[in-house]
Symmetry: C2
Subunit: 515 residues, 2 copies
């Protein structure tokens, strides 16, 4: 376990941009968080080794299928894996050796350099949720997402000082043809946000389009030497990598951009129903994906990803924000640190269909597991409801507010002469109060997180002046206010034009495809 | 930090009573939890020592006032403290030496021995919230609590397999005179629950009445040798112990019963606005209280308690479920373990006035801090809303359900041949599924926590068949159903009569007092 004493001081400072304040004290936005608390390590060395040995056996005895990607198979043959048709088996230690060339930490550049994020080590980056076909709000309920929704969520993310990244497929813009929407998504991230973002992975050419657009923004030389875009690729668990994913993975690696390698294991369906086995499986699947990036381009950045989930045994539905994945994620974190790879793990998940108590209980249970397990890039930090199928406008701003609280949480407890406050005790003494003492006056502005959405008024004031609102109602008002006040960050007109021209040409060359 | 490998296996077994099932798998009630995960230790040894030295300086240089209790002052004089009037100062190390006679772990007996709880070590006991003057539910809103409400909450607690203790002043029964209600409260705990409980501390004679009623139930000899009742006493922070509290504290210790010693520090008011100083202060205050129990009766059980809270700097209101107290509680846990005393710390707190998203987010943030910090007795595990002023019927059952989830969370990740599931990987192989495999069939019933209140149905089923309910609505239905189905545990008729006779005599001897 990392010792708190060896960790850098909390990142309350603002780097390279003016402090943004919202909701009161401690509201300083930072481009990313530097942990002030250690990770929560729940498993002993002996048990970690047992899981690693199980993963080794899965890789050596069962193997992984790589479908529809002969170039991936060729990589494995050259690397010395045992290949039989599509099935690839790996000697223990082989994949660990291959991934050792990947960086333990890297910078993802944003078009506003003040928003560059560090991914790895003791850094934490919060990114919006990803991939829902539906959106919902309290006024209009649930419906398919559109490009307007997609842009709205980018604007909400960009407006929050507590998110650090613009994300990727924040929701599916289903009003745009499937084969063209990646262009609109990447363009919208660039246009409406000046933070780092993610590209498409749903086809190799869409991954390459995404990277090409990043080249227009950053310059081709810069992109070849620096990470400017992430691609989130999924294993087809159990133990299958589909060609669509490995081709996209290789496209990102080839361009020196970071693939995020993520199994999706619903325990009892795509993996064993017990946590230890599911962790061993996902470790094996992710390790193989990470290694493939290094075979494509040695030294390319890559993120070790993980996603555990559980199942309702009454209905067979996936469940989220439950205790087993939360505690299992801590073990995943321990294993990823032994590989010295940046980690993406867990996030803010809920099965609730409303921004209610269930939503926030499940969301916080899984989000805290991400924070505790040492995840460096927390995809799905804000917005999910409905078992990952819907992005909720209210939940998005509630989660972003929670991300603010987690800035203070991750800062930990600072111990020095000022915080120990001996001068205050000597000044105040027994039986008095600290309200006006020098120490309080000196520190109160940065002492406590102050939520913009929680109601802390006395009951009478809440019911008489506050209209007896619940948190969801206050969130509904806030996202509308934020969208109304949103201002787009400036984008160089020549770059904007070049991006639009690229999109137009690509779109003109394709017939619309809707599935 | 305790290593998971050195910790006992998870306590999923049932001791001495039949398994109670509710809501599906993993629903095995246990009399208390044995941790399967280590505590979360966030501060380095160096910084822990700085806080201990600051507490030593507070005790030696500022001191603590003991008001209206000459016997307490006499204890301190005999123990060698520096006494000037009411102000008592302590040499470094003196109080640590005194508390070393208190047990690191003890059993609190319940009238049903199957419900005895172990307090200390790696055990965790969940107890209902304590002390609200108001109650609320979705039908009738907020009103003063009555004896009927008090009994209802005892019945709800007794009916939950996820709470282990009956608690104390679950709500104030304000329809009973202040000077008599302790009798009804203790009687109600004994009558409507067969779990361990807490007595009164609002006056020395009420503490003694509470203990006398426990003597009727357990026998005087048994009570002298065993802990059967707890009393929760508060410091009048900063640095004042009032006589009402120390006299009650001494009454419990004298009878070999366990006092729970708890400062209430609202940062910026009753203590410094910075966490490190507030922790040092509360450590000093609690240490003095714990030591006083040992001066009253060496070897008496005592619980090291703590309660940190923060403040809204816009309104001056106390805030709950915020990040600073959550992370500060982890430090308190580290300090308490160095004293080898059982710990009570944090709980489920919220400032929300409704069982909404704010309520569950704040509640889980503070409840998880209790679980992570190694609290052994978690008072306030269920029911609080409204900044501790109201007990909510809906929140109570929502929190009790959450306590169920925390049973699975605290069990951690079991690593053995079965959970590593190598047989399943060899049977299923790549690209298939685990739904019907032998390993799944063998393990699915105990694999995942299954909430009774979370909705995990697909959106369409939730909206069409489920009535589009939120969690609060489902909780409203559940507490009514639980109360309707409640059955009182059998109580020996002679004991019942003796308790009623004791109450009648005590009440007859007093005029009603209403404040």
């Amino acid at each position: 376990m990392a010792d708190a004493a060896t960790i850098e001081a909390p990142a309350r400072r603002v780097r390279g941009r003016p402090a943004r304040r919202e909701g009161g004290a401690k509201a300083l936005g930072v481009p990313y968080i530097v942990r002030g608390i250690p990770t929560y390590d729940v498993l002993s060395e002996e048990n970690l080794q047992k899981i690693e040995r199980a993963a080794d056996r899965i890789l050596a005895e069962v193997g992984i299928e790589f479908r529809d990607d002969p170039a991936a198979i060729d990589h494995w043959k050259r690397a010395g894996a045992k290949v039989e048709g599509l099935l690839v088996r790996f000697e223990p230690g082989m994949l660990r050796e291959i991934v050792s060339s990947a960086p333990a930490e890297f910078t993802q550049h944003a078009r506003n350099p003040a928003n560059n994020v560090e991914i790895g080590g003791n850094k934490v980056v919060f990114s919006p949720a990803y991939g829902s076909p539906f959106v919902m709000d309290l006024d209009k309920g649930r419906r398919y997402g559109t490009l307007e929704d997609f842009r709205n969520f980018i604007k909400l993310a960009q407006s929050s000082p507590w998110l650090h990244h613009s994300g990727g497929t924040i929701c599916e813009p289903v009003d745009i043809p499937v084969n063209k929407r990646h262009l609109d998504m990447v363009y919208s991230h660039i246009k409406y946000s000046d933070r780092a973002f993610m590209g498409s992975i749903t086809a190799e050419e869409r991954a390459e389009d995404s990277i090409d657009m990043a080249r227009i923004l950053f310059g081709a030389d810069f992109v070849d030497k620096n990470c400017v875009i992430l691609g989130n690729v999924n294993v087809n668990s159990p133990l299958v990598w589909d060609g669509t994913m490995t081709k996209s993975l290789r496209a990102y690696a080839r361009a020196n951009q970071a693939a995020v390698i993520v199994p999706f294991i619903l325990g009892g369906a795509m993996g064993p129903v017990t946590n230890a086995g599911a962790i061993a499986q996902s470790f094996a699947e992710t390790l193989a994906g990470c290694a493939l990036t290094q075979l494509e381009r040695k030294g390319a950045p890559v993120i070790f990803g993980n996603f555990l989930s559980s199942m309702s045994l009454r209905s067979g539905s996936p469940t989220f924000g439950t205790p087993e994945p939360a505690i299992g994620s801590m073990v995943v974190g321990q294993l990823a640190r032994r590989l010295k790879l940046p980690l993406r793990c867990a996030g803010n998940f809920s099965n609730s269909k409303l921004p209610d108590g269930q939503a926030m209980q499940e969301g916080l249970m899984s989000m805290l597991s991400a924070v505790h397990c040492g995840a460096n890039f927390i995809l799905h930090s804000a917005g999910f409801l409905d078992g990952l199928l819907s992005m909720s406008y209210e939940k998005f701003v509630m989660d972003a507010d929670l991300c603010g609280a987690l800035h203070s949480y991750l800062a930990g407890v600072t111990v020095d002469d000022n915080t120990l406050a001996m001068d205050a005790f000597l000044q105040v003494g027994p039986g008095s109060h600290f309200l006006g003492c020098d120490h309080t006056m000196r520190n109160y502005q940065t002492a406590f997180w102050d939520s913009a959405l929680s109601d802390n008024e006395p009951f009478e004031k809440w019911s008489e002046e506050g209209g007896s609102t619940d948190m969801a109602t206050r969130a509904n008002r806030q996202w509308k206010k934020t969208l109304a006040e949103y201002q787009a960050p400036l984008l160089d007109a020549a770059i904007d034009e070049a991006l639009c021209d690229y999109m137009d040409r690509k779109k003109a060359a394709m017939a619309d495809a809707w599935y």
